[in-house]
Symmetry: C2
Subunit: 196 residues, 2 copies
């Protein structure tokens, strides 16, 4: 049919979770109903590739050398929270309970995918955590197997350097009914029970 | 965080079937692991918006005024097959059973979505079907309610102008076991039974 259309369909398949049928549907949709959206997406991609880099301090995506949050002088420089992704960071920010700074791993240790400590640039994290200002590192990686392994690895690494390291609390979710919470979570909540 | 990243996430939501979470995942993926893919997609979108138009004869997407298939002199000009989308046309081409030409509606009649005969440019189809060369119009719209309604509408419209109109056969799919085929299909296959 159209070479430009074939090229677009191929390019859309580079998006995660988009197979040949979805890519074709997206291409048809954009060309038939939303050419303006296609042009806007083209510009947004170009601009993002051109301007988005990693913050020199916290490693998250940023348009500037150091991101706004790291530049914010009202944040508590004694606390450093380690998260896997910018999305995780955003979730913690939304809780309004944390006023320290962040380090974004941009991934997790995952030997099956070939992602080891070097690929995560954990040396950058060590440099950041041992800058003298940081008193405590809060590990907020996911509570999946890979996230737990990542937290464990970082914890050992920083404790060997004399840092104080903590981990988000595990337990029954807020609003959780014991009948419907999995046994592993309840077991953990029982072990980590607090005096009231 | 990053303005360029927010702009990209917003733009990705213009794709059909992509919500806020998917858009964020796609943006992170492209910036973290596939900047080359992002640049390529940007170029592909730009090029497609710029060069893809509708074929003057069959209405499908084409980089040229008249598409390659309509220009192909080995095709049978007496047959005109009406399909809903370029994807449907591709499927029919893959069967290698049809040597005529096409008309691509780029949609279907759908009163609930506000798509009436005018929005489908059915006047273009009438002009094309009554060009003197076409002897038979084969309706190959989908066998959904909307596709059937579209076929019925076009059929009435063309028969009123003295055209011969046919419809793809309905029946039990190849490899179909009666036990697992729905009753409606079997009923149809019984009514449309052929002498052998």
């Amino acid at each position: 049919m159209s070479k430009a259309l074939d090229f677009l369909t191929e390019a859309l398949r580079r998006l995660p979770g988009v197979g040949p049928k979805s890519a074709q549907r997206m291409a048809f949709h954009l060309l038939q109903y939303d050419r303006e959206g296609a042009a806007e997406l083209s510009r947004a991609l170009y601009q993002a590739v051109d301007t988005v880099h990693h913050c020199a301090k916290c490693n998250t995506f940023s348009d500037t050398t150091v991101c706004d949050l790291c530049m914010d002088e009202s944040r508590d420089t004694a606390l450093l929270c380690v998260v896997e992704t910018p999305a995780d960071q955003l979730m913690i920010e939304q809780t309004l309970t944390y006023k320290g700074l962040y380090f974004v791993l941009m991934g997790r240790l995952s030997p099956l995918d070939g992602i080891g400590p070097k690929d995560l640039h954990l040396d950058k994290l060590v440099t950041r955590a041992t800058d003298g200002a940081v008193q405590e590192v809060v590990l907020a990686t996911n509570f999946t197997n890979e996230g737990e392994a990542t937290a464990h690895y970082i914890s050992e690494m920083l404790k060997a350097r004399g840092m104080k390291v903590s981990r988000l609390a595990r337990g029954v979710p807020v609003g959780g009914e014991l009948e419907y919470v999995d046994a592993g979570t309840i077991a953990r909540a029982m072990l980590d029970r607090r005096s009231t």
